[in-house]
């Protein structure tokens, strides 16, 4: 029996590290999500939950880049989300012609991401000088500025919020953006910039002395992270069709933090697991009403005590690791084993 499972596991690992795995997975998922939403295979409630799962995966993976991989503590992620949500909504409601909305929706989402990443660039600047607790406070303040800023701009509804968006966020779009964000952040992590991000977490001075341009790396991490937070915001706004500044307060940022630390820092697989578990658990526990909000933080407390690094903490599922990195040491060993034979 054990052999049977081992066999399956091995086969799965072979499949999951195949170079066509990602394209095939992507095409199949996209096809399924299109069919599922077009022919009502999944009921609308289930679709909505899946949409939230996707949005939360994007938020979690992107926050993990700064909090897990880079080791900074950003508490302002919902602020970037808000900027993306408002930018995309303003575009679809006030700027884009109503007839072409379906085609222009991706543009609105990208615009939301770009707007958020421009602000991310500004937040990256204090990170040159401060880190740890102090940078956490900077990001906390940033979140507050965004929220109260939005509350005081009457044109976009102020504290009453903004509405009028059509329901443009569909399952296929969410799937597309989720896979894209996971893929791009995974690519970043397994590149020289990713190693730069990690080395900043480990020892910033040593990193700088090993030729890592720490400022450039920090900018890239913040910009990419906030870009996808903005994307998630845009998708969120067009799924709910209503936004107000209170949705993007510190509670929302805390939610994302919980998903990051539940799934595990510095792990893409962990972020996905964390986002899925947390989103679905919140739905399952809905009958508990207000007690839900007692139970979830309690879970976080227990998690921090018993598994401070989260479910996957610092570990990665194999199929997120590029083949080169996965096999480098192994291939080298093989090559070295052959070499003495050749010379003998």
């Amino acid at each position: 029996m054990a052999d049977f499972y081992k066999n399956i596991l091995e086969r799965w690992q072979n499949i999951s590290t195949h170079r066509f795995f990602w394209p095939v997975f992507f095409a199949a998922g996209l096809a399924f999500s299109i069919v599922a939403s077009a022919f009502d295979i999944l009921d609308l409630y289930l679709q909505l939950i899946l949409i939230y799962v996707g949005i939360n995966i994007i938020l979690t993976v992107s926050l993990n880049l700064v909090n897990g991989y880079m080791g900074e503590f950003s508490i302002g992620h919902a602020g970037f989300m808000a900027i993306g949500a408002y930018t995309a909504s303003l575009l679809t409601v006030n700027v884009f012609p109503a007839g072409a909305l379906n085609y222009l929706f991706p543009l609105a989402i990208i615009a939301g991401g770009v707007a958020a990443s421009v602000i991310g660039l500004i937040v990256a600047i204090p990170s040159f000088k401060t880190r740890g607790d102090y940078l956490a406070i900077v990001t906390l303040a940033f979140g507050m500025i965004v929220k109260s800023g939005l509350e005081n701009i009457e044109v976009i509804g102020g504290p009453r919020g903004f509405l009028g968006m059509s329901k443009l966020t569909t399952l296929p779009w969410v799937f597309f953006w989720t896979v894209l964000s996971v893929w791009i952040i995974r690519n970043l992590v397994y590149s020289k910039f990713g190693r730069g991000v990690l080395s900043i977490r480990e020892d910033e001075i040593a990193s700088d002395l090993m030729s890592v341009n720490t400022r450039q790396v920090k900018i890239i991490a913040f910009v990419v992270s906030s870009f996808f937070a903005g994307v998630a915001g845009g998708l969120f706004a067009h799924a709910l069709q209503f936004i107000n500044p209170r949705m993007f307060d510190i509670i929302k940022s805390t939610d994302i933090l919980i998903m990051v630390y539940l799934g595990g820092i510095a792990s893409i697989a962990g972020s996905i697991i964390g986002a899925v578990i947390y989103t679905i658990l919140l739905e399952i526990l809905r009958p508990l009403g207000i007690w839900r909000m007692v139970l979830m933080p309690l879970m976080l407390v227990l998690l921090m005590i018993y598994r401070p690094r989260g479910i996957m903490g610092m570990r990665e599922a194999r199929f997120f690791v590029p083949l080169r990195d996965l096999l480098a040491a192994k291939l080298w060993k093989q090559k070295n084993k052959e070499a003495p034979d050749a010379s003998a």
């Binding site: 590149s191 002395l209 090993m210 060993k333």
Partner: protein, 256 residues
């Protein structure tokens, strides 16, 4: 032209003068030791050369280029690498990734190519990975390539730190107390090792050390610092009997 030239370098930490009017010249290929009692300013000198601190006064020339005002990664790219007194590896990264991180300055692919894993990314990553493994095999660390750096024994961590520094392809290597925490037998091995990397990688080396056995054994020239000032310079044999040096180490009374 000297490889490294420090002219009238002074560095103050809010009133405390860590290095005072320090002058130093280094020729290509030399192995020079910097010694001195605790707090004499030895590590500060390294931090000034590598750009961790910016000198309050004076200038530092490396191959004729001014180093004061440059950032550490720029200076590293120019060919200065260092190790640390208390090992500063990237502990949660693998041995391989510790070394690969140091190729940051050499890889030329852009952030966009990294995000999409396209263009120069593939070619350069393959090259970097191979070169890192080659370097590790020179240090006999290639079998531990996928271990986390924190799981290596102490001696190997020291070795890995030197390997990581060499990955930046330096001309000048700064070793900050490489023998700290080693027993006499290990120090003997370290002496051979330093001599060997010096020859293999054609390095110029500056060494900070407390272990007199090591310093006297391999350094061609010594600089003695005390309270941030040079109190003596010369051949190891001369330094040994220099009254000023004895005074700094043993105190005024004992030196008499």
């Amino acid at each position: 032209m000297p490889l490294l030239e420090m002219k009238n370098i002074t560095h103050r930490f809010e009133g405390l003068c860590a290095v005072a009017n320090f002058n130093f010249q280094l020729t290509q290929g030399e192995l020079v030791g910097i010694i001195g009692p605790n707090g004499a300013g030895k590590t500060t000198v390294f931090n000034l050369i590598t750009g961790v601190y910016r000198a309050t006064e004076g200038s530092i020339f490396f191959n004729g280029d001014e180093l004061v005002g440059k950032t550490p990664h720029q200076i590293t790219k120019m060919g200065v690498a260092r190790t640390f007194q208390n090992i500063r590896l990237f502990k949660e990264l693998t041995v391989l990734d510790n070394v690969r991180t140091a190729y940051f300055g050499e890889a030329t692919y852009s952030p966009l190519e990294a995000l999409l894993h396209m263009g120069r990314y593939r070619r350069e990553e393959t090259k970097i990975t191979e070169r890192a493994l080659e370097l590790l095999s020179v240090f006999q660390l290639d079998n531990a390539a996928s271990e986390l750096a924190k799981n290596l024994p102490y001696g190997l961590q020291r070795k890995l730190e030197i390997a990581r520094a060499l990955a930046t392809n330096p001309q000048l290597l700064l070793l900050d107390e490489p023998a700290a925490g080693m027993n006499p037998n290990e120090i003997k091995q370290l002496m051979d090792f330093i001599g060997w990397i010096r020859k293999t990688f054609r390095l110029t080396i500056i060494l900070i050390e407390h272990q007199m056995r090591l310093v006297m054994g391999i350094c061609e020239r010594l600089v003695v610092l005390d309270f941030g000032a040079t109190i003596a310079q010369g051949l190891p044999a001369e330094i040994k009997s220099n009254p000023k040096v004895l005074e700094a180490y043993l105190g005024e009374e004992a030196a008499k």
